[in-house]
């Protein structure tokens, strides 16, 4: 019962956060990354129960790319279909700046109530 509430809450949160995390990951690296690599980096950073399924990373990458926040190129691969490598664009960096600001604001706001500092 509680588990399903928790899952739904996590899913709602992830709707926007996955995009923010992906932009941040691609902003911090100088090399181009493909979907699987990105998914593995997130998995490694996240100890314990996974916050989101790695399968949800791909559609978000595509959406970001379709809106010009990422560029992508396709490289043939021996182990399967061609891989799509992603890189952040200048527009993506600008959006990441905006979104990070919103995130910090939101986090501080929520924390204020959860920690009960505010009287």
């Amino acid at each position: 019962m509680d588990d399903s509430h928790a899952r739904k809450f996590q899913k709602d949160l992830n709707a926007g956060l996955v995009a923010l995390v992906l932009l941040a990951v691609l902003n911090r690296t100088s090399e181009d990354l493909y979907g699987y690599e990105i998914a593995k980096r997130l998995q490694k950073a996240n100890e314990g129960e996974s916050l989101f399924k790695e399968g949800t990373v791909y559609p978000v990458l595509r959406a970001l790319s379709a809106h010009g926040l990422l560029t992508s190129r396709i490289v043939p691969s021996y182990s399967g279909p061609p891989r799509r490598y992603y890189r952040i664009t200048a527009e993506g960096r600008a959006v990441l700046g905006d979104w990070s600001g919103i995130w910090v604001q939101t986090r501080d706001f929520v924390d204020r109530f959860i920690e009960g500092v505010e009287e």
Partner: protein, 304 residues
């Protein structure tokens, strides 16, 4: 609920089933992404069998149903959040403003450009298909006949994909971003057989052939509409210039009665010219949309 997939092909099949009814281009994207992940995951665990790797997939990558939902939701949500407000959504209820609002819609300009471009692409496609088909038929008796035909079909598919990308750039409607997923791996002969049986192979060729008449038609409509509108708008100014003693050397001679009536009818011809051009812009936008529907019907495999 499906039983857990035991192989990559099974996983892809379940994913395809779960996405049934979605945009074909989205299904293709999802299948490619999943295959990239699953094959990479298998390759990074060489000690485990495919079935063992697949067992863990539901908790890492997600079960096919989950992944399918993610694609559908993301397409709707992220796109909605990022998409700038399109002219369509700010369309006012005032019919006059709606009529002239077409000038602020970049798709109308692009579609007009597409109408001119189709004459060129139409001729190229037509020549390509006719040459390819006749050479294939001619070479059929020789050993290079089959490879030639296969290469011809392959290029036709690339052209079809390019045409789709062009249409997406012009109209903003989603078209496939990659070649069709070949499905489970099978032998060369089986694939050739499938390709020949695949109706899309033939509809693609039909589309490329039909682009010649369509291209001529679009080109004529665009050029005629534009020249007519330009003539009606510019004409009165030419008459005015002639009144002021401007001599156009030769070529343009305005008849005397027209010269006298010009000041009276000038507002009407200019208005008519603007009206015709605006109507042309609307027609271009409509043709862009129709062309997308046509391309989807012939170039994109239904239900893929």
């Amino acid at each position: 609920m499906n039983r857990a997939p035991r192989s990559i092909d099974e996983y892809l099949k379940q994913l395809r089933d779960a996405l049934q009814g979605s945009d074909p281009a989205l299904i293709q994207d999802a299948l490619y992404d999943a295959e990239e992940y699953l094959r990479a995951e298998c390759a990074s665990h060489p000690d485990k069998s495919e079935a063992d790797v697949l067992e863990l997939i539901a908790s890492t990558y997600g079960a096919p149903e989950e992944v399918a939902t993610a694609y559908r939701d993301t397409e709707a949500k992220v796109s909605a959040a990022l998409r700038p407000i399109t002219p369509r959504s700010v369309e006012s209820s005032n019919p006059l403003r709606r009529f002239f609002g077409v000038y602020s819609d970049s798709r109308a300009y692009l579609s007009l450009f597409y109408m001119l471009l189709t004459l060129v692409t139409g001729i190229l496609y037509f020549v390509f298909v006719v040459t390819g088909l006749s050479l294939s038929a001619g070479l059929a008796v020789l050993i290079i006949g089959l490879p030639f035909f296969l290469a011809f079909i392959g290029i036709a598919r690339v052209l079809a994909l390019g045409e789709g990308r062009l249409l997406e750039a012009i109209t903003g409607e989603r078209m496939p971003r990659r070649p069709v997923h070949p499905g489970p791996r099978s032998g060369v002969w089986a694939r050739i057989g499938e390709m020949l049986k695949d109706a899309r192979t033939w509809t693609t060729l039909a589309y490329l052939l039909l682009m010649l008449p369509l291209g001529i038609f679009y080109f004529v409509v665009a050029v005629t509409g534009f020249s007519l509108a330009a003539g009606l708008v510019v004409g009165p100014f030419m008459v005015l210039a002639q009144h002021l003693g401007w001599d156009f050397n030769d070529g343009i001679s305005v008849m005397q009665p027209a010269l006298l009536a010009a000041p009276l009818i000038a507002p009407f011809t200019i208005a008519l010219g603007v009206l015709i051009f605006t109507a042309l812009m609307h027609a271009a936008r409509g043709i862009g949309r129709l062309q997308v529907a046509f391309a989807r019907a012939l170039l994109v495999k239904p239900g893929m």
